[in-house]
Symmetry: none
Subunit: 186 residues, 4 copies
DNA sequence: TATGAATGAGTGTTCATTCAT
DNA sequence: GATGAATGAACACTCATTCAT
């Protein structure tokens, strides 16, 4: 990707999270990126196109982060834990991207086409869960409820360790995962 | 409260949730409320004062909703469940207020003074949890993590039933609570 | 005059001089006067009517101040000096009224009708001068130039003693008058 | 200077003199200058910055006008007369700039920093006068009083010839100067 | 007579977007 | 591709004025 385009995406990510879509002006994005205002509109036709690009970009980064070390051979719990931990660490370490996804997931600025493009790549998650349910390791609950619970506990954990970064260690992280696992396991 | 002031709060609540703070113009709020733009500024000195008033108002409504039938005499689990269910029902039924609190909880438009005013009334939650922990019914985990997990599972559940309202019934709601309870209990 | 009406005139005088006509809001005038906004509009149909009333009022006060001890019997110079000193003292002591007259003398907010009403009472000044000229005590210069010179030197003197109030004494005041008198006398 | 910036200064000068600072809207200035409202704020951050720029600009023009043909070699009276006449002609011919300086000299819209910047260049006036006083050609009166008298008689003269332009000729102008000179000379 | 809530046109200023260079 | 001056619609907020009490 063009260097200035990447600078613009980085600046926009930071500012959109901090001040929202309408709270951030294109001139401020350009200034933060260190380019002229006109340059922004060379790379993105409109402000909306910029935020949609950003949405696809951050979702892609999330997908990479959570599937980087996926190993189908493993046990269900290990595999799930790996996924959960990767997601949670992404939330803590790539705070801006994680926040961005949460805030703009259900915002009107992201077109449904963009959401669709981003979502298709996440469908494997459900498939994966279904296997676990069929294997009877976890409770018989609707797929969608499971996904929500999965996300909700990650949300809790990210929030907790963001507010108390000094408590972030393997032991506490495992404790947090156990809250989730004991909730869903039979 | 003055009738027009209440109309303005209602309109602002709906619009801020739908389109964000900067995405909602004061003239739109006034029009939605059915009053003149000047009237908004007669009751609230600035747009910021309006959203701060709204924050205090919604937090107050939440507090009323979750503590309405509190009974100290009950068992820890029943009491916790009652709280969890009240909160979750508030999230589903008073969707706008619930969303508003979530969205603007960590927004820069709400002043720290306002947050402080609102938060003091929620301190009992922690006190309540501490009793349960001391009674050894639930896992030994930091207070703050417990609160986050409590809120995270409510978040999951509200999201789920909002997306699938046809599945909202006592049985499914109990199932959701069990995900939470089995997570935290020893 | 009604007490609240007088309070409003006083407040308006002070504020109009300080911040100008458009720079002063009717609500600020009312607040400074200690009355409700509606009350202002009970006594003055519009803001313009208020400033026109104020113009007539201040001009009247000026006229009273400069003619209070007029004595036709005196010599021309004594009489002129008396007038000049009264005017100058008015400018120093009733600073707000003096400033108001200067600022709004040629402003579009004062209607020509108002100016006419105020001016008719000042016509004696010219008559008075004509006598002096005929008596050959002072230079043969157009009436209107004389009036301007008269006002200009008062303007100088008021400015000077307003900036340096500690220098205000009879000797210095006489020196200032001599600048004027030596200028016009033959 | 940028062409549109100059157009804006010209329009603002005319309108501020005519209708005052608050009486003139930025949109009217832009329209009069023939540019878009946004353009005004592209060149001047605020309306205040515009009027401050204007103040520096008009003072600079005045300084140029009154010192253009200064010749130290001349006699005190000739030199003073030249200065007095230049100033007076500036007042009559550059009426808007002259009026602007008078009106906004003591207005709260001009910051003290701006006044300071403008004033430093006028200090030579006083130095010049001191020489005359030391040479005993004119009365022993405080510097500051002399300056005020100087300005006051210019004020008179400008007013007179502005109201009676048909009387403007060398003879009458010399008569006016004599009023001033006979006032200050021994 | 006095009040102050209500009005809506108008204000200073911002901002996404365009376009000539 | 990159720039930044220029645009004008839209924004938060103000204000003279009205009117029911």
């Amino acid at each position: 990707m063009n260097e200035k385009k990447q600078l613009l995406l980085n600046a926009a990510l930071k500012l959109f999270v901090e001040k929202g879509f309408h709270g951030t002006s294109t001139s401020e994005i350009a200034k933060t990126a260190g380019v002229a205002t006109g340059t922004l509109f060379h790379h993105f036709k409109t402000k909306q196109e910029l935020i949609n690009s950003l949405y696809l970009y951050t979702k892609e980064q999330l997908l990479i982060a959570i599937t980087i070390d996926y190993q189908d051979s493993e046990q269900f719990k290990s595999n799930l834990k790996r996924l959960w931990l990767n997601f949670t660490h992404f939330g803590i370490e790539k705070s801006d991207m994680y926040q961005f996804i949460i805030i703009f997931h259900s915002s009107p600025y992201i077109t449904s086409l963009t959401k669709e493009q981003a979502e298709t790549r996440f469908d494997d998650l459900l498939t994966f869960y279904r296997k676990g349910i069929e294997n009877q390791e976890i409770k018989t609950v609707k797929d969608e409820m499971m996904v929500e619970f999965f996300l909700g506990t990650i949300f809790s954990t990210v929030n907790y360790f963001t507010k108390h970064p000094e408590r972030l260690n393997e032991k506490n992280m495992n404790l947090s995962f156990e809250l989730f696992w004991d909730g869903i396991s039979k």
